[in-house]
């Protein structure tokens, strides 16, 4: 009989968690309760004595100062309804795992196989609640039915002796005999498609036929027979192929042959967007950089690597975790951040992680229209994602230094969750470049970290499809930052000691991908699936191969170091298991209990996937500019603009992320006189005894895709770079990462506009090439997520084509960094750059309900010249402040600069440099690119003005003692006169309570 330990707060102790739930129920669901209290429950399914259980309850499981405990009897009292929420079987239960370890320390005795601790939480609701309402509270707020289950018990039903019935979420079916099925592929097309569909393989007919042809090849059949394999393919082989060939892993759309037709009917064939535009741009840029080339490893590893200085290298990678976050926002986002952490840790021989970045795209948290089936409310997604990244980042000890949140209601179909991580590694380790690695023949395949369960099975193939009715729940994983942290601590020591040749992470596709990729170094592998440690028995061999259970890395350990490696792991309490060897057999060879269960030619596995052919047709949509009267009160319009979701303060989110751990954050996300102004970029000092800095920022502007993805891409690049130079980043030493999130661009019955979406993709890539080459910015890594659609029944929601352009670079001396807040009254205010009639898809037009036509365009030559001079101005200490202009244009930037600094601004709008006369509201909210607002101390005026001679640089006003933003127009009339307090309040209010 399992023990049940309940832990509750003593009378009179404030239940902060319960109070927060009560407030949120009121705010978000409109349910007013008298009180909500919480009780933690540990269900201990282990052979322990009563004394041991009592010692655990009073020891590690409770806090004697504020909590009381009970064993096998309830603590719940004084409630109307009790809801107990626990995990479903097999879902990662981090607290349960820690509780188990704590009890083991206490008793000095390990748990037996199959024993465990399971946690759940009781919510005691008081106030007018009945069972029906409680059901709603559980389903819509407290729990996620995909991963959790709940019991509801009214006060009348409650047994005061025994409490809530015990439920042990042990994984069932663990006695299943491992079996390997052979699938006959000598079948018709219909049958091939059925095999793909029912097996969740996400392979199309052409791919299935390619596999069919391979299996039917007489040479292949002869070779397979030698290993005792029948004709056809085993489920292990088919799954391995499906993972390796998935859109997620193989980027089939970016590798496709695209037949592009532009608006004039001109035809062009593009053989791989990736090779043509992304690799192509980097090649050109590196040629142009010549001896100044600072790229070390691009595209080939888990993260891109650039030089930081002679002794240190930097790596950076940004990933998305959209589909899992749609199903389980907390687990999906948590897994997203700890997953991208493994990319850095698995780059070269492994990096020390120095910071995280995160960018989210959501629908409005205040969304009040009916939601289609299976979609969670955007507010729940917001809450869950923010909390997931909070736990993942904070617990891993990596500061979150940069990010943003973009709102558009089309992200209700799929939220976008971008997580990035940078790392630093010594340029050389034991005399060899740290960014290089290679498995050697005879090296052992060693898996390190967490155990394998059914979590995340079919994650890679699932994210290669739209969100649909049968999306698998096993695709959801929950990360465990502490297991990962322990693994990283161990790997750092193993790396120092030179105990391994190569390392990579287990992400999408699990062992199938990690071992499959590393085996390319040697030309084969022999992998014993039965040796892999499991969370619970009953996994089939194919499940072991493709499970995406988290916190695992795969290493190539030479035989002479194997013992030392395994011993060190044991000492540091990290699980490491020898799963086989890397070979030069030419085969991806898997065994289970000594019997071959998969034997695929390495060449076919990695090169066999057929190239997709994709039609793309661009058409002008005939957008036009709106005609409308200017607002009567421009000041009021500015107030409203500041409160728009894409512009308003994200402080409550930023504060939940530790942005200062590691003591390197020099320009923090929040800045200014009250530490609450919005920084443009982060400056980070990775070496505690040096003032050299890493600068990181990003650009993202999906709204512009509604007019032209070419300019969307150009603007994202420019935004990333101007944020970067605004704080002092060196424009000659900066690299970019592109993360494409698209809606399905493959023309089909369910995507009749696929050719247009594919053309949008082509145009974004053309801009990526053009502008990276023009700015001299190499791309070092990136990722694409191509199926961000929701489709159930007749309802289809496609996200706007979105690219996150992240940049990372350096500055020589962080003590020269510049922040965006105005500093002193009397400082002069300059606007750098030219303002044009470019309000197409702007925040202002959207505010008024227009789209418009004049999407902002980037003049890279002028922008680069300006940024080079900004670099010089920063180096010479000429800038007191610098702030980029983006969403909401000049008006928003002026307000932010003023209230962040705590002083007013007097501005003459007629001084703004324009290419043609522009109405004042348009001037104020135009989103023309490549513009920066700077303030300059009067004694630096001459030096500043002569430095910017010949550039678009206009003195437009000055910083004032009085706390008012005063804008004057053509005839000297005052257009806006608002206190900075009112402006700041408007900017802070919208998301303050979230």
């Amino acid at each position: 009989m399992p023990w049940r330990i309940v832990v509750g707060l003593k009378d009179g102790v404030r239940d902060a968690r319960g109070e927060r739930i009560r407030e949120e129920l009121k705010r978000h669901l409109g349910i007013s309760l008298e009180a909500v209290r919480t009780i933690d429950v540990y269900t201990v399914d282990a052979d322990l004595s009563e004394e041991e259980v009592l010692a655990a309850a009073r020891g590690p499981l409770s806090d004697p100062v504020i909590q009381e405990t009970a064993v096998n009897r309830p603590l719940a009292r004084d409630f109307d309804v009790l809801i107990e929420v626990g995990f479903r079987p097999g879902v990662t239960d981090n607290v349960g795992r820690t509780a188990k370890e704590a009890i083991q320390y206490l008793t000095g005795r390990p748990f037996r196989e199959g024993e465990g601790v399971y946690t759940s939480t009781q919510y005691l609701l008081k106030g007018a609640v009945d069972r029906q309402l409680a059901e709603r509270i559980a389903a819509d707020f407290l729990a996620n039915g995909l991963i959790q289950r709940w019991d509801i018990c009214t006060a009348a039903e409650f047994d005061p002796e025994r409490g809530v019935p015990v439920h042990v979420p042990r994984v069932g079916g663990t006695d299943a005999e491992p079996t390997v099925r052979t699938i006959d592929l000598a079948v018709g097309d219909e049958e091939l498609l059925r095999i793909s569909r029912e097996g969740m393989l996400a392979l199309n007919l052409e791919e299935m036929k390619r596999i069919q042809a391979y299996a039917g090849d007489p040479e292949v059949r002869r070779q397979r027979a030698r290993f005792g394999l029948e004709a056809g393919l085993t489920d292990v082989e088919l799954e391995a192929l499906a993972q390796t060939w998935s859109e997620h892993c193989k980027h089939k759309i970016f590798s496709a042959r695209i037949e592009y037709v532009d608006e004039k009917g001109q035809r062009e064939v593009i053989d791989s967007l990736f090779k043509t535009y992304i690799v192509g741009a980097t090649r050109r840029v590196r040629e142009n950089l010549g001896e100044r080339d600072f790229c070390l490893s691009v595209f080939k590893d888990n993260a891109g690597v650039i030089r930081f200085n002679d002794d240190w290298s930097l790596c950076f990678k940004v990933e998305t975790h959209n589909s899992p976050s749609a199903l389980d926002p907390y687990g999906g986002a948590l897994t997203g951040i700890v997953g991208v952490n493994r990319d850095g840790a698995g780059t070269g021989l492994g990096a020390r992680l120095i910071f995280n970045t995160d960018v989210f795209c959501f629908a409005s948290p205040f969304y009040d229209k009916p939601l289609p089936a299976r979609l969670l409310h955007p507010r729940r997604i917001f809450e869950g994602v923010v909390e997931g990244v909070e736990h993942g980042g904070n617990k891993s000890g990596i500061p979150t230094v940069n990010g943003s949140i973009v709102f558009d209601d089309r992200f209700a179909g799929k939220p976008l969750v971008y997580c990035g991580t940078a790392g630093i590694m010594p340029a050389e380790l034991n005399g060899k470049p740290t960014h290089e690695k290679k498995a050697e023949v005879g090296d052992h395949i060693v898996m390190v970290g967490g155990r394998i369960g059914k979590d995340g099975i079919h994650g890679a193939t699932f994210s290669s499809e739209e969100l649909h009715e049968d999306s698998p729940v096993t695709a959801v994983q929950i990360g465990d930052p502490i297991t990962q942290r322990k693994m990283f601590d161990f790997l750092a020591v193993a790396r120092e000691r030179g105990l391994y040749h190569s390392i990579t992470d287990n992400g999408a596709g699990g062992l199938s991908s990690s071992v499959g990729e590393m085996a390319e170094d040697t030309g084969g592998c022999e992998l014993h699936l039965d040796r892999a440690p499991l969370k619970y028995p009953g996994l089939q061999p194919w499940e072991i191969l493709i499970s995406e259970a988290q916190e695992r890395m795969t290493l190539a350990v030479p035989p002479e170091h194997l013992q030392a490696f395994l011993t060190l792991a044991r000492e540091m309490d990290v699980e490491a298991t020898d799963l086989g060897t890397f070979t030069d057999s030419g085969y991806f060879h898997c065994l289970y209990r000594g019997r071959t269960v998969a034997c695929l030619s390495m060449e076919f596995l990695h090169e066999g996937v057929p190239q997709m052919v994709l039609p793309a047709r661009w058409e002008e949509k005939g957008h036009s500019e709106p005609q409308f009267e200017p607002p009567e009160d421009l000041g009021q319009t500015l107030v409203e603009m500041l409160g728009r979701l894409n512009i308003c303060s994200k402080e409550t989110v930023v504060r939940r992320y530790d942005h200062e751990v590691q003591a390197g954050t020099v320009v923090k996300p929040l800045t200014g006189i009250a530490n609450d102004g919005p920084s443009d970029a982060a400056v980070f000092r990775p070496l505690l005894d040096s003032f050299e800095g890493v600068v990181v920022s990003h650009g993202i502007c999906p709204r512009y895709s509604d007019i032209d993805t070419y300019h969307m891409m150009a603007c994202a690049i420019d935004e990333g770079l101007r944020n970067y130079v605004a704080v002092g980043g060196d424009i000659r030493h900066v690299a970019g990462l592109d993360n494409f999130c698209w809606c399905d661009p493959v023309l089909s019955d369910k995507t009749p506009d696929g050719a247009y979406k594919a053309a949008q993709l082509v145009r974004a890539n053309k801009a990526l090439y053009d502008y990276c080459v023009a700015f001299g910015v190499p791309l070092i890594s990136g990722k694409d997520s191509m199926k961000n659609d929701y489709q159930i029944g007749d309802t289809k929601i496609s996200i706007p084509p979105t690219v996150l352009f992240s940049v990372i670079g350096r500055m020589d001396d962080v003590r020269k960094a510049v922040t965006m807040d105005v500093k002193r009254p009397g400082h002069l205010l300059y606007l750098l750059g030219i303002t044009r009639n470019e309000l197409g898809a702007s925040e202002y037009y959207d505010h008024l309900g227009f789209l418009g036509a004049n999407v902002p365009r980037v003049d890279a030559k002028a922008a680069l010249e300006l940024y080079l001079r900004v670099n010089r101005a920063v180096g010479e200490g000429l800038l007191a402040s610098c702030h980029d202009l983006s969403d909401g244009g000049l008006g928003v930037a002026l307000a932010e600069k003023a209230f962040a600094g705590g002083f007013g601004l007097r501005v003459d709008l007629t001084a703004v440099r324009v290419d043609a006369p522009l109405r004042e509201d348009l001037l104020l909210f135009s989103e023309s690119q490549s513009r920066l607002l700077v303030t300059v101390a009067p004694d630096k005026r001459n030096a500043f003005e002569s430095l910017f001679a010949g550039c678009d640089c206009a003195l437009i006003g000055e910083v004032t003692e009085s706390a008012d933003l005063v804008l004057s127009g053509r005839n000297g009339e005052i257009l806006v006169n608002k206190t900075i307090h009112e402006l700041k309040e408007a900017w802070q209010a919208p998301l303050r309570e979230l």
Binding site: V13, R14, A16, R17, E19, R20, G59, P60, L61, S62, D63, P64, V65, I66, N94, V95, R97, T98, A99, E101, A102, L106, G108, E390, N394, K395, G397, D480, P481, I482, R485, K486, D489, V493, E571, M572, D573, R655, R656, D658, E660, V661, Q662, A663, V666, V667, K668, L670, T671, G672, I673, N675, R685, L688, D689, A817, T819, D821, K823, G901
Partner: protein, 274 residues
């Protein structure tokens, strides 16, 4: 070698701030500032007795899964050490030898939950207070003003009036086990740091007091003043560029305020232990 101040930071199982804490110790003048993984202690290869200054760094021991530092405290109290005295025993002797322990954030939580603070009457390993969830129910990263109690026996805050340091925690609300414990803490000046306004007046107002801590208590020492824990992060303010407003406050000294605490510790060791 005689005359060397030796500091150690225990790392592993979720500590996060060990590098900057060790760096702070070195900047403060410690000749040795080792980061030692807990596995090294448990394997018996490293002993606490070889050091003068034990630092328990911030982080999330075991994810704070059972409440902040609870599982970590359980490990230190119960994990066996190969061929030698347990960690609990080593810590007890370390304290008896008149040496120094400072816990920051998760390290403070660890000390409180192990019963190392406030350790009234020198009663070690008996928990008499706790640190629990912020009143906001949220983790928060924000800078706080701290008023120093000049009458405190605390070794680390000697000569200081106030500090400005960041907090980064979700469980920082200090709660004593009883009114008697609180009265003793007050009477014996065992709360050397309190959250305050800019004029260094202790306050219960959010967000100046970021967690609703009893009597605005931000840091606690034992009656000897040698054991000290605090929620704010002194190792996060070692240089002027750590200050959130360093780009606008021109008269900030080069050296950060957090370093003062470490300097006091190192000086105490030189004067009293070496």
């Amino acid at each position: 070698m005689a005359g060397q101040v030796k500091a150690v930071v225990i790392a592993g199982n979720g500590t996060n701030c060990e590098r900057e804490v060790a760096f702070a110790c070195r900047l403060a003048g410690a000749e040795v500032a080792d980061i030692v993984h807990i596995a090294e202690f448990l394997a018996g290869r490293v002993r606490l007795e070889d050091y003068h200054f034990l630092n328990l760094a911030g982080g999330f021991l075991d994810g704070d899964d059972l409440g902040s530092a609870k599982a970590g405290a359980n490990r230190l109290l119960h994990a066996p050490v190969a061929g030698g005295p347990s960690m609990a025993e080593q810590i007890r002797r370390f304290v008896e030898d008149g040496k120094l322990i400072m816990g920051v954030c998760n390290g403070f939580q660890l000390m409180v939950k192990m019963g190392l603070l406030p350790a009234l009457d020198g009663n070690l390993m008996q928990q008499s207070a706790t640190l629990t969830f912020n009143d906001s129910g949220r983790f928060e990263d924000r800078w706080t003003y701290l008023a120093v109690d000049g009458a405190s026996p605390c070794v680390y805050t000697r000569g200081l009036d106030g500090l400005y340091l960041p907090v980064r925690h979700g469980e920082g609300k200090f709660v004593p086990a009883s009114d008697e414990v609180l009265a003793r803490i007050e009477a014996e000046h065992l709360a050397p740091l309190r959250y305050a306004d800019e004029q260094l007046r202790p306050t219960m107002d959010y967000p100046l007091n970021p967690n609703g801590s009893t009597r605005a208590i931000a840091g606690v020492c034992d009656p000897t003043g040698r054991l000290f824990g605090l929620m704010p992060h002194p190792e996060a303010y070692l240089h002027r560029t750590h200050h959130p407003r360093w780009t606008r406050e021109e008269d900030l000294p080069e050296e950060g305020m957090g370093l003062w605490l470490y300097r006091n510790a190192v000086q105490f060791i030189r004067e009293n232990i070496l």
